[in-house]
């Protein structure tokens, strides 16, 4: 086997142009497919304002990633097919000794910088206008809905390995059932009694870590009646995978009658609960002596 330099002077096809054409066709086909065919099926649906925001972002990001995906796939595929050595020749032929190209490098950098700044700006504006999009925003949220003052406050308390819910507007009654009214702003206050959990109301598009000693606020407005799953999303020990429950979304009047019945039902118990607070330290973990 000998190593020979490449023979030059043959007619080279216009590889750059070919790749650009294939890429443009693939992208032109795939982007509409993603937006209009796949897009409607991307989770998490349209039950709440949060899921609508998340769905919109996911469709945009998926559509944006298609040109990049196609660029790499088309280029790789084209290179693998066209830029291969002839295994039968018995000699090792070197390619052209190209080392760099300032124009291509600068273009690549500028395009990726524009993409990144655009994505970050889009994400930031989206986060602020969508009231935090259902994510936990800590105790002092920046992105509040306009009707935050009249929102229904629901406290979510995580503990190993179950969820309980307190309604401070109704005497701080505590239940194991999560019932929410439709078409009303809801303000979740998420906290924990022991270790770190994460409150994930899947169909609502709400996710907020439950941290002991911390108050984590998330907003949601639900548009239809129905039910949703709640799961723990942060490893919290032995029965983490079983720390789930089902929540219910009912009409405003049904919610009123449910909450009043619950207040009455638990009146005898509620008075023994610690007063409603944003955080709790129920068990002293240290013996001071």
């Amino acid at each position: 086997m000998s190593i020979a330099p490449e023979k030059v002077g043959r007619d080279e096809p216009h590889h750059g142009r070919n790749i650009a054409i294939i890429w443009a066709i693939a992208t032109a086909i795939m982007v509409p497919v993603i937006i209009w065919v796949v897009g409607p099926h991307i989770p998490p649906g349209s039950l709440t304002d949060d899921t609508r925001a998340q769905h919109a972002v996911d469709v945009v990001l998926t559509a944006l990633s298609i040109p990049l995906l196609m660029l790499v796939w088309v280029y790789l595929g084209y290179a693998v097919i066209n830029f291969r050595a002839d295994p039968a020749s018995g000699t090792i032929v070197d390619g052209p000794p190209l080392r760099s190209n300032t124009r291509i490098q600068a273009t690549w950098l500028i395009v990726s910088a524009v993409l990144v700044v655009g994505l970050a700006a889009y994400g930031t504006v989206d986060l602020l206008t969508e009231n935090g999009a259902g994510g936990g925003q800590g105790s002092n949220p920046l992105a509040k809905p306009s009707d935050a003052r009249s929102a229904l406050q629901v406290q979510v308390i995580g503990q190993q390995w179950l969820w309980t819910f307190r309604y401070p507007g109704y005497g701080g009654v505590e239940t194991a059932q999560l019932v929410l009214p439709v078409n009303r702003e809801i303000e979740f206050h998420v906290t924990s009694l022991d270790v770190v959990h994460s409150f994930w109301a899947i169909e609502l598009g709400v996710k907020a870590d439950a941290v002991p000693g911390a108050d984590n606020i998330a907003y949601v407005k639900i548009f239809r009646k129905g039910s949703f799953q709640v799961r723990c999303d942060e490893l919290c020990g032995l029965w983490h995978g079983h720390m789930n429950t089902t929540g219910h979304i009912v009409s405003g009047s049904a919610f009123n009658s449910w909450i009043h019945a619950t207040v009455t039902k638990y009146a005898a118990v509620t008075k023994y609960l610690p007063p409603y607070s944003l955080t709790y330290y129920p068990i002293p973990t240290r013996n001071a002596t």
Binding site: R84, W108, V116, A120, G136, C232
Partner: protein, 642 residues
């Protein structure tokens, strides 16, 4: 330079007799002393802790944490004693002249003890990290078996979480050492024209600490397992039973080993480069090792500090992470991810280095955009310290900083994207030879792209609300770490193992391994993006029944992926044990320095320190000289066998 002054130790020396080897310092004594050390220190800890623990910690952690932690530290000392790591400092203190070479002879025993030959240490590293890679992979098979049912059926809940934690921790720790250990230690000195690493004893120490870390982690199973996964979130770690002590000590050992290996590589590259090896000629793999080392040196101490805090919370009852006593669980999140995000680039950068090193050889073209690749790696390394809070988007911790971390996270895709441009430029009008290493490198780009693009979804806070902490994240980092690093590592193993061992690796079996691994890797992990978006949290043993079919499919594909790994193992056994064929000096026709010296490489690497006359990527130019060995041809294959 000192490496030039270091005498060539060509007299292999009369190896001591079998009995002499057995009674000398070696891993057998290390195991024995580690056990004795554990027992002694555990007894001592029991005495110290007897008055404290029972009194102050009702219903909390196990009461003998002081004894267990001290016991584990005792076993570290015993381990080092048995391997002979205290000999050198003791000799120095007694005023005796220590030997320059330690444990370097031709006997097989050199693989079972402290050895200052960097090539021996690298082979030890390779065997050790691959061993733990397979153990951790086996855990993944158990996890996937459990997930074939939507309810917990196979394992008790605690055992399942221990499997999850062992898989994650072992993969993360062993793969952090998986490239920089074997390939870094083997290649860096040779690539820069040195006979050794800067600190050969420390090099050996990092390897033996890594091995011990693996076994200490496995000892968690004897102490009741641990429920925290690899992230070890407090206060769950405060509350957990004694198995978590093994996790803490094991991770601490890995942290120390990472710092030491990083310092060693940095000093080696700065001080031991051969004449003519300017920074502009440094192979890109060495640059990857340099940037990885910078990350290891800067990030791992933060981890060590955080682990130390949990240890003190558990043993002497401090309250770093107990919120009711003024501590903060969020402190752990911050410290852990301040280490944790650079850590994922400790796992990514070596992959970049391997791929960009191998690509020019089989494209028969120079590495395109060399300076840009170096700049990209440094960009990734520096920026990886500014993105850690994207792991905490939902934690509620100063949520108003989220746009900033969203921006920095997306910004880091620019230097990462440069690696793709390097690859593309190198492949342009190339003469590709589809060898097994090249296939793995091409697959790297395919997989890493999917990993990178899914990272964009996670970096956007709105989208992250859905995917955070779900199987989407799990699929994402398996695409970057397994699809990226492990594919690159496999490419590197197929590429360099003929040089390292002196035997060729079977290409047909290698291709079978590649295609099965590539196909089943994608079929395993791509569906998991959907599982995450549809509401499957990580680390659960029961999930919504509607996801059952998807999980069964993924499990079957995962088992096939496991079988593919057995093909790899079989290939190693076939090529290195059963049907051995001598490898030639330069089977890939590479221009890189390590291929210009004889196979097998003599223990002194170079007869004379070579003079470097060009970078290793001079393809396409007729006979571009890369290296001048001085007395050309003096280091011939014939002489090496002498």
């Amino acid at each position: 330079m000192e490496s030039a002054a270091l005498p060539v130790n060509r007299s292999k020396g009369a190896a001591p007799s079998f009995l002499g080897q057995l009674l000398g310092f070696n891993v057998i004594w290390a195991v024995a002393f580690a056990i004795v050390g554990y027992i002694v220190a555990h007894w001592l800890g029991g005495k110290i802790g007897a008055n404290i623990a029972a009194e102050q910690n009702p219903g909390g952690t196990d009461q003998d944490d002081i004894a267990i932690l001290l016991g584990l530290f005792g076993s570290i000392i015993g381990w080092m004693l048995g391997l002979g790591f205290f000999n050198y400092p003791l000799k120095r203190m007694l005023g005796r002249a220590p030997s320059l070479h330690e444990g370097v002879d031709s006997s097989t025993w050199r693989y079972f003890r402290l050895c200052t030959d960097h090539k021996v240490v690298a082979m030890q590293y390779l065997v050790a990290t691959l061993f733990f890679f397979f153990v951790a992979g086996l855990n993944a098979m158990f996890i996937r078996t459990e997930l074939t049912s939507s309810n917990a059926t196979l394992f008790p809940a605690g055992n399942y979480l221990t499997l999850v934690g062992l898989h994650g921790t072992m993969m993360l720790t062993m793969m952090s050492a998986g490239v920089i250990g074997p390939l870094g230690n083997w290649l860096v000195p040779i690539m820069i024209g040195s006979r050794r690493m800067a600190f050969p004893r420390i090099e050996s120490l990092t390897m033996w600490l890594t091995v011990l870390a693996g076994f200490v982690l496995l000892s968690a199973t004897l102490l009741g397992g641990f429920p925290t996964g690899w992230t070890g979130y407090a206060p769950l770690a405060d509350q957990a039973r004694a198995g978590i002590d093994s996790y803490l000590v094991s991770f601490l050992l890995i942290g120390i080993a990472l710092v030491l290996v990083g310092i060693n590589i940095l000093v080696t590259v700065v001080t031991l480069r051969a004449p003519g090896m300017t920074w502009n000629r440094l192979p890109i793999f060495v640059w990857a090792m340099v940037t990885t080392s910078i990350l290891a040196v800067l990030a791992a101490p933060v981890l060590a500090a955080a682990l130390y805090m949990v240890m003190s919370d558990r043993s002497i009852e401090s309250t770093f992470f107990i919120s009711s006593s003024g501590g903060s669980p969020l402190l752990w999140d911050e410290l852990f991810w301040f280490f944790g995000h650079p850590e994922v680039y400790i796992l990514a950068l070596p992959g970049f280095g391997i791929v960009l090193e191998i690509l020019p050889v089989f494209a028969r073209k120079p590495l395109w955009g060399y300076r840009m690749a170096v700049a990209g790696m440094f960009g990734v390394a520096l920026m990886s310290f500014m993105v850690w809070q994207h792991h905490l988007f939902m934690s509620g911790i100063n949520a108003n900083l989220r746009p900033f971390y969203m921006f920095t996270t997306e910004l880091i895709s620019i230097p990462t994207g440069l690696i793709f441009l390097n690859g593309f430029g190198t492949l342009w009008k190339a003469k590709i030879r589809f060898t097994v290493p090249m296939l793995f490198c091409l697959a790297f780009f395919f997989n890493f792209l999917i990993g990178g693009l899914s990272g964009v979804f996670l970096s956007d806070v709105t989208s992250d609300v859905v995917t955070h902490g779900s199987f989407f994240v799990m699929a994402h980092f398996h695409y970057t770490i397994m699809g990226g690093l492990v594919f690159a590592l496999m490419g590197g193993i197929y590429y360099w193992l003929p040089k390292m061992t002196g035997y060729t690796i079977n290409q047909a079996l290698g291709k079978l391994h590649f295609w099965t691994m590539f196909i089943f890797f994608n079929l395993t992990f791509f569906p998991l993006f959907a599982a995450g978006m549809l509401g499957m949290p990580r680390r659960v043993s029961s999930y919504n029944a509607s996801l059952h079919t998807l999980n069964v499919f993924v499990s079957i594909m995962a088992f096939c992926l496991g079988l593919s790994m057995l093909i790899f193992l079989g290939n190693l056994v076939w090529s290195l044990v059963l049907k051995r064929e001598r490898a030639s000096d330069n089977p890939w026709h590479s221009k890189s320095l390590e291929w210009q010296i004889p196979t097998p490489v003599p223990s002194y690497n170079f007869e004379q320190i070579p003079t470097i006359t060009g970078d290793p990527y001079g393809y396409g130019l007729p006979e571009a000289p890369v290296v001048d060995f001085g007395r050309r041809g003096a280091v011939a294959a014939g002489e090496a066998g002498a």
